[in-house]
Symmetry: C2
Subunit: 693 residues, 2 copies
């Protein structure tokens, strides 16, 4: 990177002299500014930092922004896949950052929905987020014909100076397909190098695209030399506004579009055309801040000399499959953050006072009040854990809601992924599934779905990732996440190890219609539950077949051997003969699988781990006077499986059972508080020995 | 797509004019200034780097070591747990490093065994490793009475100047309980600050220990002020040798031990006593290079002012459970590297030519020869993958080998962890188990074992972690890892979903003795295999009970329904009646579970994914003329389970089956090559339809 050869060296020497002179004039009185850093070094501040043996030997124009300066980042993000990319980008930024950050996210409705929930539940200290509606901004760029794969979204970067808050003076603009390998404050520090006239910081393009003549009739937009890449931009918003940016780029674009049919590289073509016209606007940035990994990239020139890569840009439509002889190296950096446990980024920033994320203080008070010696400490702690939630992790296109439609709601972890294909075959309707996964498992899950023809074909299954944290399985919180995301008027509250009758989806909708239910009516339709103890098993195609299997001992009513009271009130004997729905009464420990209106009570999230979590929900339905109606043709069958790790870890522990009892007691206390005397029956019922099954 | 309509065109023209005028005023004189920078940028030369507007602004005197300088690190490491710590420490160093590194590891036999395999299979470019025998060095320090929890190992740091190669001039010495949060080259750069007399770089102690009077009769060793912490040391070995370090510390230690009963903090007491006597030896390092997290630490003074933490030191015996109000922050940094996928660190160092790790070149040639369009590309790639192996991941104390002893050998992944407790109950003897896990899963596994009373109690079960990489399950490679680590003369080659008869371990040893086998004799004892399709199942306690269950249809011979030829040659009818071992002949597709001498043929690692992996091994045994003897009282039973993710992902794919066929064909070709005409029978047998089961 140093000038090569004598003429260059001479030139450099002259430049050095010149700069020293300039430095003398500019910073002459500034030695005071420099020296304290050296002094600070003795106070526990490393004497060598970012390159200074002794910083006072060298007068770098402000290496980093002031310690706690708030840095602003703008990103355009639309759709499910882009939201996942943004998550990875943000993880890489947060990993290295030492400053408070504010993300300005220009999003469509899908991405906003996902990202609002993600950031809200992430609770990262010293991170702010604002959303801007992409739809509102669209008209400003939709007139531009564009051939780039990023569609209109790429162009959106042009309108940021007008879209972001008028008092925001500077912003770093990032594409969602970049990965940071360094502290973003170092990038922000480059603003200090802007001359008074410069408004845009950009890295040179690392391809020959803008040189033209790549093939016959290849006519790129005008650019200075190779042009600049807009995956990473420093914008002086204040100056852009002053300079009339909004008019400037439109004028250039309009003029170029007189002779060019469309933009090929979206915003980048227009930025380059403007810069070609006004070269004084641009501050070129060091190439390491946007190492571009296309097939035909010249990026190697950049990184083979730099010991430090700062930002990698996957700017090929092929992304990670790009052909580049060092792609493994870059892929590893990317995978690092793809699989990085985002919970670990909830760490505070030392010495930068910033308002804690909403809810944090309350949470920390509650956590501080816990008694570590309490035998149920782990339970209490788990109950207070806020899990990071990434709703609609995969693309999902729900049908417009229909009046009697039913969504199957369930939750699972990695060890039940194999159930998904079978479930899709049994339930052709919409599903809302919460998955309890680590960040790395979420990627395995993604590959699992992509590899499955059955799963890839379904557009009506929404997967919501709840990131693992804590030792106990938050079963009811998971159910609530899935329930909250159901979009149909009714939900079938199922469990992942059950396969419903093939006809159940149609039958439920027909029943809801025939029974003239509306979502105001508090009714829970009971789907009788059975189980097979055989691993290999041929699923009955009708109630008659099911009854035959029951009689031959191939099927049982669910948990017939260990926990008959869980389903006894369904009254299987009556169900055998029933032709029409019949009403049943609540009894202690009843935990049927039910179809209810979407706005039904939530599950009680205090039940973490295993045990009593569904029972409590049915108590709640009964307390709120839901009518229990058993459907005569409905059934669902539990398949056998080895106990999950989460269960087996705790089932054998007496302490675990004691804590479960404590949870139950507290649940009943709360019940009495909410429902008064009416709740007495639940406590009384609990104290009776269960009746005959 | 030209702009439509005259008004727009007119407006645009007016705007253009306006902007040209604005441009003239704003940027008029600047074009000259801008152009040279633009030109420089076009050469791919970043105009600014490391925060410099222009590198020539600033002449820093070597901020970091020369780009490719080899940095040396010494670590003392003994035992299983320390080896795991070292792995985490090395991951944190490698994550940030940009220089070639050489690790000098002073180890006991256990750690050496583990770490040699770990580094050998890790294959990190530009990383060298040397081992030094801790036992040999022990006599130099074993005379020192010591009360610190690190035992003699801590003291070992004193003898490094003599133990490391005489031409090694500088080394960074690290405790295994430190975590890096920065590039180790920045630490190495601090050597440049040593005066001519300084030989040791250390960070001040962040506790009041050496001030004394913490309690009545608290009399610490002498130290300068708070003294220094020896978790992170820079050693000028050349000067230490010249200064007669070996004599110097011994003299001081001997003198102090006249009045003090023992060292309390091992080497640290002695280093401090020497420094107190010769203060000119020490170069104090910035506190951020050793942030000490004890209960009573003063570290907060350090990190609350520094924006940058460089190295964290878990120097409390409580480690991560230490009470410190910011412990969550530090814990997160530690967990980052604990769970970090070490495979991602196999990335090359750009621009630092260094000899590739042994085997790499051959591997890369083989990988380069693969055809990406080949339908079996994934298989070929997986076969060539070198998996990182961490043998004896948990403490393990094998009994001294006994002549007829048998080790149960098996492999598993996360979804079979639940089997371990049952397996321990069924097999009271030694086991060697390979686990295919990610780094994060390995930590889950560790917690799982710690939480289980049954598993924690066993000292004779060795767990070998093979880190996941690639899409296909390397079943035979896993088996080979477990097999290679078995320490008894015989091995029982089992699968994780089988539970052996409670009596099997004793019965096998007795049979081996009665049959007067010795490990020279090529014999494979067949353990007949059965299966239950019921999820709940009461295990037969004798052959008679097993036969009763077989007759009642509760048990079947293994894979009776889908693959009878796999076990037909065992001749179950004969087994019913047999009182003594009987010989059987190999037949196509036979895959019994066998007990063989430890030096039996390895499994063929070309079989990745699922299918035919055991069949090929039995063919190999037969080709080497192993005698197959069925034991009349032996049995093992397969438990039902849902198909694992690894199986279900591929079982349905026709391409998968085609590739399996290709693997079989190649296996047979190799067989002919090795065994000549004798191998013909395997090919012929394959072409016959299987006989009646």
């Amino acid at each position: 990177m140093l000038p090569r050869g004598r003429p260059r060296a001479l030139g450099a020497a002259a430049l050095l002299l010149l700069l020293l002179l300039i430095g003398f004039f500019l910073f002459g009185g500034d030695l005071e500014y420099v020296r304290p850093r050296g002094a600070a070094a003795l106070d526990g501040d490393p004497p060598a930092d970012r390159g200074g043996h002794n910083l006072s030997d060298c007068v770098p124009p402000r290496p980093l922004p002031p310690k706690c300066e708030l840095l602003h980042v703008a990103i355009v993000c639309a759709g499910h896949n882009s939201s996942r990319d943004l998550n990875t980008l943000v993880k890489s930024v947060l990993f290295y950052r030492k400053n408070p950050l504010h993300f300005h996210l220009v999003t469509d409705a899908v991405a906003r929905n996902i990202l609002e929930m993600l950031f809200h539940t992430w609770m990262v200290p010293a991170v702010g987020v604002s959303f801007y509606d992409l739809e509102e901004l669209k008209p400003q760029v939709s007139w531009i014909p564009n051939k780039h794969y990023s569609g209109l979204y790429g162009l959106m970067k042009l309108v940021l100076p007008g879209a972001l808050p008028p008092d925001l003076a500077r912003v770093i603009v990032l594409d969602t397909d970049v990965t940071f390998a360094s502290d973003i404050a170092e990038l922000w520090a480059l603003f200090a190098h802007f001359s008074d006239k410069q408004v845009i910081g950009l890295v040179e393009n690392q391809s020959d695209w803008y040189l033209g003549n790549l093939w016959r009739n290849h006519r790129p937009w005008p650019a200075l030399g190779r042009g600049f890449n807009t995956g990473v931009i420093l914008l002086r918003l204040d100056r852009l506004r002053q300079a009339g940016w909004g008019q400037m780029w439109k004028l250039t674009a309009t003029r170029e579009l007189l002779t060019l049919p469309a933009t090929s590289l979206a915003d980048q073509d227009i930025f380059n055309a403007v810069i070609k016209e006004h070269p004084g606007l641009v501050q070129p940035l060091p190439c390491v801040w946007n190492v571009q990994l296309s097939d035909h990239t010249l990026a190697e020139r950049c990184y083979s000399e730099a010991s430090d890569l700062k930002v990698i840009h996957w700017n090929s439509p092929k992304k990670l499959r790009v052909k580049n002889k060092h792609v493994e190296y870059f892929r590893n950096l990317y995978l690092t953050f793809l699989e990085y446990d985002g919970n670990l980024l909830r760490r505070e920033l030392f010495g930068c006072p910033s308002p804690p994320p909403p809810g944090t203080e309350q949470l920390q008070r509650a956590l501080a009040q816990l008694d570590e010696e309490d035998a149920c400490f782990e339970f209490r702690q788990q109950q207070l854990t806020v899990h990071r939630v990434h709703i609609s992790f995969l693309p999902h296109e729900p049908l417009p809601p229909r009046p009697h439609d039913v969504t199957l709601v369930a939750q699972l972890s990695m060890d039940r992924l194999q159930m998904l294909e079978a479930l899709c075959r049994h339930w052709p309707g919409p599903m809302s599934l919460a998955l309890y996964l680590t960040d790395a498992e979420a990627q395995q899950f993604l590959r699992f779905v992509e590899a499955s023809a059955v799963l890839s074909a379904r557009q009506d299954v929404a997967y919501h990732v709840v990131y693992r944290e804590g030792p106990l399985y938050p079963v009811n919180e998971l159910r609530n996440v899935a329930l909250a995301q159901a979009l149909t008027p009714y939900v079938f509250l199922s469990d992942i190890d059950f396969l419903p009758a093939y006809s159940l989806y149609d039958y439920l909708r027909a029943s809801i219609e025939q029974l003239k239910l509306d979502s105001e009516r508090k009714v829970a339709l009971v789907v009788p539950a059975f189980e097979t103890l055989h691993y290999r098993f041929s699923f009955p195609s009708s109630k008659a077949e099911l009854l035959a299997l029951l009689d031959s001992g191939s099927l049982y009513t669910f948990r017939y051997h260990e926990w008959p009271q869980g389903h006894a009130p369904t009254d299987y004997a009556r169900w055998r003969e029933a032709q029409t729905p019949y009403r049943v009464q609540w009894a202690a420990d009843y935990e049927p699988y039910v179809v209810v209106p979407r706005d039904c009570p939530r599950y009680d999230p205090r039940f973490v781990g295993f045990g009593w979590n569904k029972v409590a929900h049915i108590v709640e339905l009964d307390a709120q006077e839901y009518e229990l109606l058993v459907l005569p043709e409905a059934f669902t069958i539990h398949l056998p499986h080895a106990p999950s790790l989460d269960i087996s870890r705790f089932r054998s522990s007496p302490a675990y059972r004691d804590c479960l009892q404590a949870l139950k007691d507290e649940f009943h206390q709360d019940l009495s508080r909410h429902y008064g005397a009416a709740a007495l029956k639940y406590l009384t019922a609990l104290q009776q020995p269960p009746g005959p099954a």
